[in-house]
Amino acid sequence: MANAIALPQTSPAQPALQFLRVIPGVLLLAAVGYAGKLLERNVGTYAKAHHWTFPNIEYVLWAILIGLAISNTVGVPQIFRSGVATYEFWLKAGIVLLGSRFLLGDVLKLGGVSLALVAIEIAGAIAFMTFLGRVFGLRPKLTSLLAVGSAVCGVSAIIATQGAIEADEEDSSFAIAAILALGALSLFTFPLIGHAMHLSDHAYGLWAGLAVDNTAEATAAGALYSDAAGKLAVLAKTTRNAMIGFVVLAYAIYWASQGQAKTVGNKAAFLWQKFPKFVLGFLLISILATYHFFNKDQTTALANLSRWAFLLTFAGVGLRTNFREMRKQGLRPFAVGAIGEVVIAVFTLALVAGAGKLFGF
């Protein structure tokens, strides 16, 4: 979900100044995203005209690849960094707008299936990551952060938990680097595995939403497979995101009981503070679409606007991923994360296969 990026540490500025500061980076996101769209359209045509055998690469992958190339060669200059960090804003706005493509009945039906699978996934992932952290001798709070990041929703879960359990910033950086590196790898591995296993759009989308940690990467991994899979991946991931407050609260209570974190006073207020509000926006737009608040053309316009928002997100996923920076964070947290992710991916694939047999998708 949320992601970390190198941002300048400056004193709080006026909102107007902050707004101006993000413009260069937003323009860079738009330029990279649009370049991806142009490449999708023109490379295939060019290759066909010259009788080349060239795979059909979608704009999603082009945008990510261009961003990765910039970030890992020349780097993202300081002036663009604040704006590049807004990709999380575009992601969430895109998810809210995507609600127009789901009727409430579908959300309840698919969301119900997702919820059951998410509950099993979260319990399994936390138990396994905790076990792995102990085997590898990681610090207990780092293990907690990795477990939450793998089980719920990546970086924002780690950030929310860091505050709640009073973990070190260093532990948080390790966990975030591991989750981001593994999220980047999943973009390339998940679609390949999905195609190799001939997964349906439905099954693949659910799997990507359950197994890929960051919402941006889960959305991209789904969209790389198909439009329908992308929708399902967002729904499953959103269901997972909705659980963040409960998991963070459980960890906060545990670490407070160990005398290593503050006691949580008002639990309802804590849950509301941690609850991802974009889930409510997604549901609201879905309800409005279900009751025909928007006509057909308006629904198409909303869906297209959602695609544009995701385009900026995918550009941001590439631009903020810097493998050199991640490598500096050390191997052990990455190894724990990698082993955990592989096991969680296999576990969730089995869950989706089981649910597919049960519900016929």
Partner: protein, 43 residues
Amino acid sequence: MSTNAVPLNARKGWLLSIDSWAVVAALLAALLIRVGVLSRIPW
């Protein structure tokens, strides 16, 4: 000026969280589309 990894959510001075701003912006866009100010969004 250092460049430590800082989550966007952690930045102060935006009045609302990025989550809430995204919802506000998306709902505003949906409203503009509904009333016809944004009539056609090409893809």
